[in-house]
Assembly symmetry: C2
Homo-oligomer: 355 residues x 2
């Protein structure tokens, strides 16, 4: 299998590691976002993302877009993995994905094929992912902006969807329409329809194709990022970059561009966007409990017990998520774990350092 760009150059992975997710609070923190965490043991999500594109016969050294506060930690994690050839692009502050990807595209050559990936998603079936990238490569080399569509397994209301259009190659379809997070009834119709995929936030395109589309559909962002780089020299100027409109690639580009393709793929994907999502990616024991770290479950069922140190003792409880970090403990019904955002908001309001 050859994964090569139009100019027969290896694909350049772009790993987006600027996020400061709080949906897995209290384990994820501002100072240690989700991608820096080991989820389910072993290496961190960032390291697993880098390892997924670690074969240097197939992929070039990655560009890693990282928040200023995490640059050292990210560099250390990549070095641990033997991926010291990664090039770090430090964002002075997070302005969402459209500007971050623009920084990477400007660092690459215009004909380089960029494989853009969030650093905090899990992909269980790496072979299917690689095969989908191989299917997408010629189409992307031809100038299309390709997104990877995750086959829905449930009527999820937390993701955007992509409507598949006509086939333009084997396993590659025109993206007919991007739709925002639907309500539950709409999500049910999408699932039943079968023609919709989840927007997983993974993309493949020529650097030049992206920059052209950005210039056309979000010229302020394209111009703002160039200006920040001009003002900054080696790294983007902080004040200029702060002035760039914070916008996602989906809203800034993908929803508007003409030649957008989707490659559906079943690859055991999870964005691990909540404790419930994490529970679903794991293998539960006979009582339906998922345990990470030290925990003692006595007559407890269906619980996620995750500790970074303290021993969790759960007795006679059901379907709870209990997450213990050093200085905070979260207890929430597992199915309502997205409500951690309410706690995060309360802590933010009072300037609590445990955020």
């Amino acid at each position: 299998m050859t994964l090569s760009s139009a100019a027969d150059r290896p694909i350049v992975p772009v790993i987006l590691s600027g996020g400061s997710g709080t949906r897995l609070w209290p384990l994820s923190r501002k100072a240690r976002p989700k991608q820096m965490m080991t989820i389910g043991g072993g290496t961190t999500m960032l390291q697993r993302t880098a390892a997924r594109v670690g074969d240097r016969d197939l992929f070039a050294a990655p560009l890693v877009v990282v928040g200023a506060g995490q640059a050292n930690a990210v560099a250390a994690q990549l070095a641990e993995l033997g991926a010291s050839d990664a090039q770090l692009i430090v964002e002075p502050e997070g302005r969402n994905t459209a500007p971050a990807i623009a920084l990477a595209a400007l660092a690459a050559g215009p004909d380089d094929l960029l494989l853009v990936m969030p650093s905090d998603h899990l992909i269980g079936d790496a072979d299917s992912f690689a095969a989908a990238v191989a299917r997408a490569a010629p189409v992307a080399a031809d100038g299309w902006l390709v997104t990877f569509g995750v086959r829905p397994s449930r009527p999820e209301t937390g993701y955007g969807y992509i409507r598949r259009g006509e086939a333009i190659a084997e396993g590659v379809f025109r993206a007919e329409r991007f739709v925002e997070k639907p309500d539950a009834a709409t999500a049910e119709t999408y699932l039943a329809d079968g023609g919709y995929d989840w927007n997983g936030g993974i993309f493949l395109f020529r650097a030049g194709s992206y920059l052209d589309a950005l210039a056309e559909h979000a010229p302020d962002i394209a111009g703002g990022v160039r200006a920040a780089l001009l003002a900054g020299g080696a790294a983007p100027d902080a004040a200029a970059f702060a002035d760039v409109r914070a916008e996602s690639i989906d809203r800034a580009v993908m929803e508007h561009a003409r030649r957008v393709a989707v490659v559906p793929v079943e690859m055991d994907w999870s964005d691990v966007g909540s404790w419930q999502a994490l529970y679903e990616t794991a293998t539960a024991d006979a009582d339906g409990n998922v345990v990470a770290g030290e925990a003692l479950a006595i007559d407890a069922r269906g619980c996620l017990l995750q500790s970074e140190g303290p021993l969790i003792v759960a007795i006679g409880v059901e379907d709870l998520a209990v997450i213990a970090a050093g200085d905070a403990v979260l207890i929430v019904p597992r199915a309502a774990s997205q409500r951690v955002s309410e706690a995060v908001a309360a802590l933010r309001e009072r300037g609590d350092p445990r955020l």
Copy 2:
């Protein structure tokens, strides 16, 4: 009011602080039993017990029977309270209350009236307690073994009960019968009957009366304790004391002695024998939550949230007890909090240091 012994000497408080209760695990530990804890803020339960008999016009300096491991901490807590005149009697190991009280009785004069109190009970209404002691004093001076009966407020199956017999003085009754912890149906009949009180484990008697009754009904314990003191000199000999039968005063003496009296008293008493009992002694907020330490309750109801440090965040849960110590977190339905014993047993079995 004068609380004086037959020989017109002040009453000698005997504070039993040898227990290593684990029913409030993970806050109470082997190395820091319940009486060393502040419950509901302020001073520790031991300090409050000592303060209850702190008036030196009414009470002599207390005798405090304490486990070897806690002697220094107990001395420090008493000094903090200004009760440095307390005399510590160090037990080499815990052998239950009958031997512990024998050590105190042998340290006192035979005519001294001993007011024996566990160090880990709460008494909300100290005046009622003092009045009950005053009622009991002449009867005890006359040679009776007096126990204080707590008026039952519910059909509790966790306590022993005392059946009141004929009145022998104003507010003082012959104890007709001691009964062990009843089943639920029996507890209901006791509550309905009205003639039963909880055995609160608080006693008043002449030191000599107790030692005589012990010699008669548990001569092995009486002899064993004397032997340990003879062998040990200043403190009981460890090996000899370890040979003394471990038995409660109730089983060794009170259930058998002839002149046993009960003084019923309503004094807002709790043995704080479970997290549920602790919850009941506290004042809940509008959502029915009782919070001690740092906790954030979001749409949580009827919960006991007690932390020694970590921030507890409880979202959308009901009627849970969540107890966070430094190295352990307990989550259990509040009404089932006595099940902590199952966790304690499991930790003991594996020799877990967090016990």
